[in-house]
Amino acid sequence: MKGVVRSFLRYLVRRKSLSILQLLGIAFGVAAVVGMTLASRSALQGLGNAVDFLRGGATHTLERPAGPMEERVLASLMADPAVKHFAPVIDRKVRLEGWEQVRFLGVDPFLDRDVRSITARIGSSGKDNVREEAFSSFLFDPRAVLVDENLARNMRLSPGSTLQTSQGPFRVVHVFPNPSGEPLVIIDIGHAQELFRMKGYIDRADLVVTDEEAFRGRWATGFRLESGRQHALTLSALLGAFKLNLQALSLFALFVGVFLIYNTAMFAVVSRRRDAGVLLSIGASRGQIAAAFLIEVLILGAAGGVLGGVLGFLLSGFLVKIVGNTISTLYFFLRPEALPWSFWNLAGGVLLGTAASIIGSMPSLIELRRIQPVLVLRGRTASRGASKRARAIAVSGAFCLAAAAGLFSLSFLHVYVGFAGAFAFLLGSSLFAGFIIILCTPAAKYIFSRVMGLSGKIAVGNIRENLGRTSVAVAAFMIALSMSIGLGSMIDSFRSSLLWWMDSQLRGDLYISTKGDVNVPEELYEELKGIRGIGGIDVFRSVPMTFRGRPASITSIDASVLQRYDRFGWFEGGGENWEAVKRGSVVISESFSRRFNVKKGDVVTIEGADGPVGLHVTGIYYDYASEHGVVMMDRSTYLGLFRDRTINSLGIFIDESGADHARIIEEVKQRARSYNLPFATREEFHKRILHIFDSTFAVTRSMRILAVIVAFFGMAGALMTLFVERRKEFGIFRALGFTTGDVARMTVAESLGMGLISFFMSTVVGTVFAVILIKVINLQSFNWTIFYHFSAGPYAVTALTALAASLAAAAYPVWSVLRKYPVMQIREE
């Protein structure tokens, strides 16, 4: 057995360059999964840290279903026997000068120390008199704030520094430690009430509750009570679809990696076939041969896994930033730190590498066990039946595609079923590679012989004659290119759907503040109403809610303004819906409808300030603002339900009939400036949304690149194998008078030929894959419809990628040709 194993393993050393290519292919496949998993885990851990830090020792939070809560509620809380401690909080955002938005927390320094330790430590690093001074400043100076160490470091702040914000300057009196990573500014709650014009109101109360059941019974109506666990679950649920898509993306990269391993294993079998025949004839058993092969594959898988584990760890440092930015842009602030190095990165990498190797090498292992020594010792008989086999494999590919279609029809059960269908589709398509090569050969021969002469013609013949090797490389490359086209087309379609949505729903001439920015004072709204020439002002308010235990949101708008100026894309119903909305009905987003299976005509029950209220659904509209679903109502309905007069933003619509457009816009801007409010024209607002959209797909782009890198190693490996396996043929070429240049050209032509066929296949497979992503995966993950939009960009980018990867993959084999061809002879051994 030792000798058999040794004879196989020595190939790894003997064909170093090939082994390295194969190793790198596996490593990159594993790195994609390890990197993405670590980035996801970092994000979750970061989320946990942030939630824990801000929650402190609080067990629950109490707030109104929407908008601020009256301060007088605190008196009732104080009297409640189940409440051990309570701390009022104002939780807002301010924009720092030249920086991003930060959380601005108003707390009561006396009550808050029972829940959090931040205010208890004010001035703790200084002497007693400094400490007292800092504390009294915090208490009495309306501009005194505490800042966290991360923010202080980034903005070079220390006690005594000035913090410039959209709400004016603040004086830093203390810097406190913050393990969550989220930039945080703390102010006394009384000053916060003045600052945010919230006299008599707070945003929520953080509580330490001893008897939850009794407390819940007393505070069931008109309030939202959430435990720490529920809060973490809600935030985690917000990330659900996002996380799922990250995992799916990394799995797609591993899928290409498994192909590569299959590729590797197939090459190994091809080169070991004759040895296996010899070994069988001298008395080795099939089991021994299979075991030796498996050991070889496992060593390669384990080594690739170790390298992949390390690369994945390095990659996670890069991905965690992108993931953090995306989550911060789309959901809530999160700045996760990359997880520290752990032995488990290696263990996980090895596990993935070996598992993928076993799966990827299984068909080859079966083939090796079935080897007929008589046939293999006769010579290269494998290609004789290759055409027949390619056809048989294509038939099994057709079955795979049928299975994929079946899975798609069942994808309503769970998004995982959709993913399984997508994998089955890619697998099924890849099984057509050999058959397509046979079909393409005549045309490719014609083209290549025209362009590259005899070398090109022979190269195409080589691709055709070595189907066992070339078809797997083409399949792996094609899958990577298809992913590139599919993801690219999906993103482009999504982008054009978003453009359509913005053009139909965000038609205001100017927007003052936007969702997530600081709120708009009602006085400004009243002022603006008086400006002549303004046709309408949409008063926008969005609040999160929990519907049937899952996160969603409520949006209030001015229905008559939108009816007049916007052109909503209706999923069900039309412009007439606004009449019902004005009378108290609601419209819901498509994602809300799909997620909660709510239809037009249904009644949705929402927790209002005075208890549950049933609202009639009059229509469903297309929406890309939130995948969790939106219930949209007129502001009058909202005010009646929640008594919350907060305004998040205003949409200004200028009356076009003879109005001096530029002057009015300038006047509105002037008024907004006087309130320190940001504003954006329609174009600027759309641009900002598109920027957010583009940054959201940064992870997707990284995975596209990684998949192409993985496939590149597959191509390079295939070419190297062809070179190594056909030394005898090269000897014949030399004898026939082919120059080194001719053979180098032949190698380039082989690479280009495989690249061309892969690209040709990927245009079809990638387009279908895009449709699958749009119609099945996205719909199931995010519950919104994306309209397929053809765009040439992804095809052009992929064609260039295929060309570059093909040429790069040929580089090393060509170098080998240049070095070795001049001394090659016709030899059997």
Binding site: G3, R6, R14, L280, I282, G283, E829
Partner: protein, 231 residues
């Protein structure tokens, strides 16, 4: 001569994808005694290698059976046939078929290891017997054709199997080297009292044989002498 070592009964072999009717063997009945040296002549495609493969249990007959040392090899099953090749058969090929990743010594050791022997000494002796002492660390590509075939012979003989099957052992060598190889192979077989079946095209092989067989279109004809064969 001793007892019968190899016996075939009405042996037929038909290949599905071969030319004409695909019939490679047509009812071969053969008895070869222990220690006998047999040469098997015939044109390309006459069925020589097919017969050798069936005797080695590497291929399955369409009809008929093969007995080695009195045991029906089909009845042995796959595992039994593997053990038969491991312990009782030695193979020498036209293209040497050494494992390219193993050194000369390791190629020979492989044969011993498979037979459950891990002692290096017999392998080194075998190398010495074939005139390659000092070249044990060389890989096949570092040896000449003749040297590679010597290693192959050492590999086949090192475990002292009662049967050696040689498929055109000199077919890929020049005539001088071929003669040396034949001398060596036959001598080693005689020393070990091994039965040798040697498929060949070269007429000089005949001189080494106790029996000369000729294959014509899947049938076997016994020749009385080398002169008859030449005619």
């Amino acid at each position: 001569m001793g007892p019968v070592m190899i016996r075939t009964y009405d042996l037929w072999k038909q290949y599905e994808d071969e030319g004409h009717d695909g019939m490679a063997l047509r009812g071969i009945n053969l008895e070869i005694k222990k220690g006998q040296i047999v040469t098997l002549f015939g044109k390309s495609g006459s069925g020589k290698t097919t017969l050798l493969n069936l005797i080695a249990g590497l291929d399955v007959p369409t009809k008929g059976r093969v007995e080695i040392d009195g045991r029906d090899i089909e009845a042995l099953g796959e595992a039994g046939r593997t053990l038969l090749r491991r312990n009782k058969l030695g193979f020498v090929f036209q293209f040497f078929n050494l494992l390219p990743t193993l050194t000369a010594l390791e190629n020979i050791m492989l044969s011993l290891e498979l037979a459950g022997m891990n002692d290096k000494r017999p392998a080194l002796e075998a190398l010495e017997h074939v005139g390659l002492a000092g070249k044990e660390g060389r890989f096949p590509h570092e040896l000449s054709g003749g040297e590679q075939q010597r290693v192959a012979i050492a590999r086949a003989l090192v475990k002292k199997p009662p049967v050696i099957l040689a498929d055109e052992p000199t077919g890929n060598l020049d005539s001088a080297t071929g003669t040396q190889i034949l001398d060596l192979l036959v001598k080693r077989c005689r020393d070990n009292e091994a039965t040798l079946i040697m498929v060949s095209h070269a007429l000089n092989t005949c001189e080494y044989a106790d029996r000369v067989l000729r294959m014509i279109d899947g049938r076997i004809v016994e020749e009385r002498s080398c002169e008859d064969l030449a005619r």
